[in-house]
Symmetry: C2
Subunit: 357 residues, 2 copies
């Protein structure tokens, strides 16, 4: 079959090298003769991988020992609950910035646990921009925001300024660019974009912010307990962690977040340039807030959208329909998507414009 | 390398056929040209697999439409919390039978949510037997028990009699024998024994017992919401579900739970016979309560335990040390463990006895 250019928003394209190495592990994990899914999570071979994965993440993001790393389950949606359980004191307050579907979900879940101040929102314009004006209440325990809005195609270009502990959902742009972890109290991300397969969640937390909510926290939702057990309070999602580790190893071998950032900028600009110059297309996000991960666009003539989708699919372009809640198109250009896939999409857009001039 | 006989308690041996098919899926899922970990969970190909997995489980256990099937995350430990959130009314009571480490954990987590009556326990004899005498309080919302005690090597041979809704943790013996699902309100199991890899949790629930706890339940912990979204409220643990599906497909192709039950009985009896007849070894569980999944034993002369372990390992026997909390030996003889592996272990035990006569 011809090559598929996979622009899926997540689960998404992962490096072929990482997948092939995971296949080796599925046949024989580290020479044990046992598949990675069948070896005890208490075996030295597996414990080494857990350890190596943690070291690798600390290295990629230059994280110091004030921070702990956890591999959990349930995706970002479980973190919406878990972070509130752990960080929002009984009768306490927290501030949230509402920049789209996932921010809204985070706010909804946190409201179960306490008073939530939505201090800024871009809902007035269908979340097509990142709000710049907001004030964090003096008594907020933390400020929560979503660094990249997968569905709406917007992205914070810098961290919000906050006196309160900064908590970020980085599910769809983690490891896509350098960040200063020291600015954050807690960072979390479902793995299934730049990090690995669905079913594994990364949490990076400044240890001294924990243990202050005054709540009785169920064990599986307790960051302190998970940290103390090095993510092995119970059986971890072994394959998810393994393929995440292999994906991040690929990232390191390819220059780390600093190098991928340059490539990601180039890929995104290539596509945005075509959107801006091709008369058939237009971007949906405010130019200064455009996501480098999820490029959202529509067609000037919406009647051409179905024919364009069909034409693109015939040319091996997969996964570009917009999220079912917004329509249009969304091309996700995550770390593992090669530049040639973006070039193929741009080529399609140009050809389609010529045919429909 | 020589063949490894994998007696690991979990993650554990899975059918080679299922793993190989999952490898095909990691390269090209259903002819899409996209790996199963990289395809959208909203794609028709994936939705078909979710649907097929549900149908297959209903078929294997003869489950009617009064029951719902869910694929969740977090293992049985997350269910300890989730079931209490959903089934234990505010100010309500529930009854638990304490038969070992995992029962104790379930009790501990449920106590966060309400009044828990531990109506029977075998803790007085290191959980070496299954208690037979108990009374379920009239006001108990449910009775919780652990069908098979992975660490202690005991197993309920029949369901407890209960007027209250029966809730069972079947993590380590699900799909190993026929059960009458109609006797249960809720069954849950971490996948990583007979069902698939770690990182996927199966829940089977009688739908009409839900929605009565009177609690505000966080979305990710809400059975009704998860059911209404067919386990796709958020991105599911795709690979875990996929390999579980392939493992259960293998089970069906090999005669289903009825056929595997016969094989499992034979494997367990083969090993218990050797333990009972070999003067060097003795079983730790009460004979009538012995687990058919996890065969626990010690040596009459504990000084021979290390030499025996070494001898067994030299002969390709892997994963037989007992759980770190109890010591001795534990040979887990799950569905995918071939009879020849049990024969190899029995052969080792005989040879070792001859050498140490």
């Amino acid at each position: 079959m011809s090559k598929v250019h996979n622009f899926s928003a997540g689960p998404c394209i992962l490096p072929t090298e990482a997948i092939e190495e995971s296949i080796n592990g599925l046949r024989d994990f580290k020479g044990s003769g046992i598949p990675v899914v069948s070896i005890s999570h208490r075996s030295p071979q597996w414990e080494e991988t857990m350890h190596d994965a943690e070291i690798l993440i600390k290295e990629l993001f230059h994280i110091n020992d004030e921070y702990g790393i956890m591999f959990l389950q349930g995706g970002a949606s479980m973190q919406f609950t878990m972070l509130a359980y752990n960080l929002l004191p009984v009768d306490g307050r927290a501030a949230y910035i509402n920049t789209g579907t996932w921010s809204k979900n985070a706010i909804k879940e946190a409201k179960i646990f306490g008073n939530i101040d939505v201090i800024a929102s871009s809902e007035d314009k269908n979340f097509s921009y990142i709000p710049k004006q907001y004030e964090v209440p003096a008594d907020a325990s933390y400020l929560h925001y979503t660094t990249n809005n997968t569905i709406e195609g917007t992205q914070f270009q810098t961290e919000p300024v906050s006196h309160a502990t900064l908590v970020a959902d980085m599910s769809s742009d983690i490891f896509s660019r350098p960040i200063d972890v020291n600015k954050y109290g807690l960072i979390y991300a479902g793995a299934q974009k730049n990090m690995g397969p669905a079913g594994c969640t990364l949490v990076i937390v400044k240890k001294d912010i924990l243990g202050k909510s005054g709540r009785t926290i169920p064990s599986m939702l307790d960051y302190q307990l998970m940290l103390s057990k090095e993510s092995m309070f119970n059986t971890p999602p072994v394959f998810g962690i393994y393929l995440s580790y292999l994906t991040l190893k690929w990232l390191k071998e390819n220059g780390g977040v600093e190098a991928i950032y340059v490539k990601n900028e180039e890929k995104a600009q290539l596509l945005y340039s075509e959107i801006d110059s091709n008369p058939l297309f237009k971007g949906t996000a405010a130019v200064e807030d455009r996501s480098r991960m999820n490029v959202t666009f529509v067609m000037e003539n919406t009647e051409l959208e179905d024919p364009f989708l069909k034409y693109a699919e015939e040319n091996g372009i997969s996964g570009i329909p917009g999220h079912r809640s917004v329509g249009g198109f969304r091309a996700s250009v995550y770390n593992a998507l090669p530049r040639e896939s973006v070039e193929a999409l741009v080529h399609c857009m140009k050809e389609f414009a010529t045919k429909n001039a």
